[in-house]
């Protein structure tokens, strides 16, 4: 067994870990430029919103109804419970029940 994507994985690992490790080691207690920080602060919102939108736009048409209902359930659970585990479990659970009920 060999890894076909080894180089890509190493590259992803470096690009994921370096921002964290370098910042923690060298920028500890130092201030980064406010403009840059403001720009970076927005990225989690835009990237997550885009990934959610993409999840909706690229969903399998065959399971459109259960997907949309599960996503709405996730929004509500996340809003009221603010829990990663509960949101995911409720999303997957709703999806499973609906697929069974609708006989998909």
């Amino acid at each position: 067994m060999k890894s076909e994507y080894f180089l890509l994985i190493v590259l992803c690992a470096i690009l994921t870990s370096c921002p964290k490790i370098i910042t923690m080691t060298f920028l500890k207690d130092k201030k980064i430029k406010k403009e840059f920080k403001d720009f970076l602060d927005i990225i989690p919102y835009t990237s997550l919103a885009i990934l959610i939108t993409r999840g909706v736009l690229t969903m399998d048409k065959q399971i459109m109804v259960p997907t949309i209902i599960s996503i709405i359930v996730c929004f509500f659970v996340s809003y009221f419970r603010e829990s990663l585990a509960q949101t995911i479990i409720s999303g997957v659970g709703t999806m499973y029940i609906l697929i069974l009920l609708l006989g998909i």
Binding site: I22, M24, Y79, I88, M95
Partner: protein
Amino acid sequence: MNRVREKNTTKDIKKGIAISLPVGIGYISIAIAFGLLARNSGLTLLDTFLFSAMVFAGASQFMAIELIVAGVPTLGIAISVFLINLRLLVMATSLGVKMERVNKKSIPLIGFLLTDESFSVLSFTKDKISTAYAIFVGLIPYLFWVGFTVIGYLVGDILPEKLKMSLEIGLTAMFIALLIPSVKRNLKGIVVSLIAAFIYIIIFYLNILPTGWDIVVGILLSTLIGYILIRKGTI
């Protein structure tokens, strides 16, 4: 003296495990979904294991696999992964003040183990953080993530088809669970998220950018527009 120190370390380890266990449990279904997705995308068990063990970043890993399948070149995947993880740079900086008690040699390990979730746990911890505590807060979710990725890959054939279909929603559910609590009390966050969604819908239907690049361009463009609007005081 040594005994007191050992006792404190054991206490910190127990505290770290207790607080990070729910996070680890939350990772189970996404890790299984990742293992399944990787298997269905034609990755080997070793690839899948290495992805989780070396990258340890849910959103980036899912994105990387989707981009591999879409045929995006390595550079495009690397840029997307880098962009998604830039937020952790800001998080890592803000943890600095709390890390005075942490052994310098352990910082690379703690940095590697830092995720959105462990950041939340560490930043909400009231006291100064000890080395053992910081390591275990990251380590427990890491073990769950890597372990259940492998389990997800291996049980791929055994799981009923309907359950596999249901697990696919896990990824979008995770993105929702990360976004909603942070925009809940933040009008700017809501507006910026809506702008991003709107821009992505346009990019998606224009269909002029290859898959993967549409995400990169969407993130950069909407972040820039959001940044300008916030600077101008429009939102």
